[in-house]
Amino acid sequence: MSTSNTHVVAPGEPDVAHHFRDAHHQYDSNKEGIWLFMVTEILMFGGLFVGYAIFHAIYPEMFAEGARQLDWKMGAFNTIVLITSSLTMALGIYYCQIRNR
């Protein structure tokens, strides 16, 4: 709990919680945590993909018919928006890290 943490945080130094040895230890643990979280996301969407694959195999002509109803321009626009948003987020984090050092 932060109230009992007597360690004074110097400006620019990341705040290290009381149960970690140092900032590096904390960073390492956080990284492992977020990777594990990514694994759970992959598994969750994995279930969705399995469902997709099964129904694609059962009703291929229905999926082809459905695909014909889609508008490729909207799809392309959607893809571009998604990719640029991911890119700007990744770049944002990258520049944050650079500045911290």
Binding site: M1, L36, T40, M44
Partner: protein, 530 residues
């Protein structure tokens, strides 16, 4: 920090005061206790439902309920006991409290996430329980399609609640994996962590890998109910057996989420009360991982009669029997640990022995049910009900009780009344067998499960079973009395009342806020009794 080292009377219970300091606490010990209170309350609710079910089955014909009400009570008994009692029971309560202390850490890796998972749990539980007062569901805890698509009850709300409870479970598991990897004290190698930690660690892997699949299954079910997408309902072109595949892909590993940490507690108890180094430490540790691994490939044994192919049935049957191997490794290692040890029959040890006796019956009948020919006969009979109650109640609940009596002095700094604890054991152990052994016979006689009524030949055994449930209830109420008496007027517990060797007994009872006044440096294994 400095106050705890100077004053031995300050501990995690009294360092900060007021209800607000509990509800915002990031301390794993306090969060463990908050989980404990919640789980105890849900256990009481689920238990009352169980007693009502047994009352209904006391005699043929309607006793208390209409058939619809019986289905609802059965659903809530199952859903509450599975999602809110047994799954969080050991990891979130005892695991939260003791896993960091066992490895010499000050806290879990992500204390805020830990608190969040408690709030997520409480929110999901509130959502689930609130359906009782609006539109009671009657699908059973498994939400099998297509009935769960078509029934006119609060399935969506209940399923969303189970989804949320699942996320709490994922967050706890994630926290524990990182904690075990990253926060071990100096000298605490992976082969020096107590076997309870190995068991909870294996459980955490299951929680992280299996629960997301349940999450997507439940979301698909909600999508089908609200949007009418045909996924599981054959009327809309869906496949109801696909739901069973998805559901058991989570829910069979979930069975091991329930039993693995129980086995971890038993390893601690057997070693501590035999005053002997555990026999086959690595074998027990790896058998936990082995059970976790195999558990992902056995889900098909729930579906032997659901129309899966014969070859799939044979493979699942074989893989299911494989689970018996790591389980038996544990059993024989516990027996070998006890051999020529100086055994003391304190109450936690009684529960450990009760576990071994009842779990052996539950496990061996599990192997029987893995045989396809036998299962076709026993499927959906009381034989299955008796089998999984022997594993879940005779196994997990016995271990929870043993763990509670074992760790109560550490958690609260007070000793329980030993005589009452032993009487409780006798009541629960005898009551359990009186309740569930007749159900094996009833199942073999062909009595189907989930029915609100039965024919006359099943009457006498059902009556015995119901009477047994009263004994169990008496046992648990006595346990509650023992705990409350110990809290209010129990004698002060010493640092290490059982003379055990693991790290939690090397700090004061109850532990200080940071668990250890000086960070421990580990130079030996957890069970060096000689």
């Amino acid at each position: 920090m400095s106050s705890t080292t100077s004053n031995p009377n300050v501990n995690y219970l009294n360092e900060f005061k007021g209800i607000g300091s509990w509800l915002t606490s990031l301390d794993h010990k306090r969060i463990g206790l908050m989980y404990m209170i919640a789980v105890f309350i849900f256990f009481l609710v689920g238990g009352i439902f169980a007693l009502l079910l047994r009352m209904e089955l006391f005699a043929p014909g309607g006793q208390l309920f209409t058939p619809d009400q019986y289905n609802q009570v059965m659903t809530y008994h199952g859903a509450i006991m599975v999602f809110m009692v047994i799954i969080p029971g050991i990891p979130a309560v005892l695991g939260n409290f003791f896993l960091p202390i066992h490895i010499g850490a000050k806290d879990v890796a992500f204390p805020r996430l830990n608190l969040l998972s408690w709030y997520v749990f409480m929110f999901g539980a509130a959502l689930a329980v609130s359906t009782m007062f609006t539109n009671k569901i009657d699908t059973g805890w498994t939400f099998y399609t297509p009935y769960s698509i078509r029934t006119n009850t609060a399935v969506v709300q209940m399923v969303v609640a189970a989804f949320i409870l699942g996320f709490s479970s994922i967050l706890t598991g994630l926290n524990f994996i990182v904690t075990v990897h990253k926060l071990r004290a100096p000298g605490m190698s992976m082969y020096r962590i107590p076997l309870f930690v190995w068991a909870v660690y294996s459980t955490a892997i299951l929680q992280v890998l299996a629960t997301p699949v349940l999450a997507i299954t439940l979301l698909l079910l909600v999508a089908e109910r609200t949007l009418g997408v045909g996924i599981f309902d054959p009327k809309l072109g869906g496949d109801p057996v696909l739901f069973q595949h998805f559901f058991w892909f989570y829910s069979h590993p979930a069975v091991y989420i329930m039993i693995l940490p129980a086995m971890g507690i038993i390893s601690e108890l057997i070693s501590a009360f035999s005053r002997k180094t555990i026999f086959g430490y690595t074998a027990i540790a790896y058998s936990s991982l082995g059970i976790a691994g195999v558990s992902f490939f056995v889900w098909g044994h729930h579906m032997f009669v659901s129309g899966q192919s014969e070859i799939a049935g044979v493979i699942f049957s074989f893989l299911t029997m494989l689970v018996g191997v790591p389980t038996a490794i544990k059993m024989f290692n516990w027996l070998a640990t006890m051999y020529r040890g100086s055994i003391s029959f304190d109450s936690p040890m009684l529960y450990a022995l009760g576990f071994m006796f009842l779990f052996a019956i539950g496990g061996v009948t599990g192997i029987m049910l893995a045989v396809i020919g036998v299962d076709v006969h026993f499927h959906d009979t009381y034989f299955v009900v008796a089998h999984f109650h022997y594993v879940m109640v005779g196994g997990t609940l016995m271990a929870i009780m043993g763990g509670m009596y074992y760790w109560f002095p550490k958690m609260f700094g007070k000793m329980c009344n030993e005589a009452q604890a032993r009487i409780t054991f006798v009541l629960i152990f005898v009551g359990f067998n009186v309740t569930f052994f007749p159900q094996f016979i009833l199942g073999a006689m062909g009595m189907p499960r989930r029915y609100f009524d039965y024919i006359e030949p099943y009457h006498s055994l059902n009556r015995i079973s119901t009477m047994g449930s009263w004994l169990i209830a008496a046992g648990f109420f006595l346990a509650l009395y023992t705990f409350i008496r110990a809290l209010t007027s129990g004698p002060k517990a010493p640092m290490n009342p059982w003379g055990a060797k693991t790290l939690e007994w090397q700090t004061s009872s109850p532990p200080p806020f940071h668990n250890f006044d000086v960070e421990p440096v580990v130079t030996a294994g957890p069970y060096e009794y000689k």
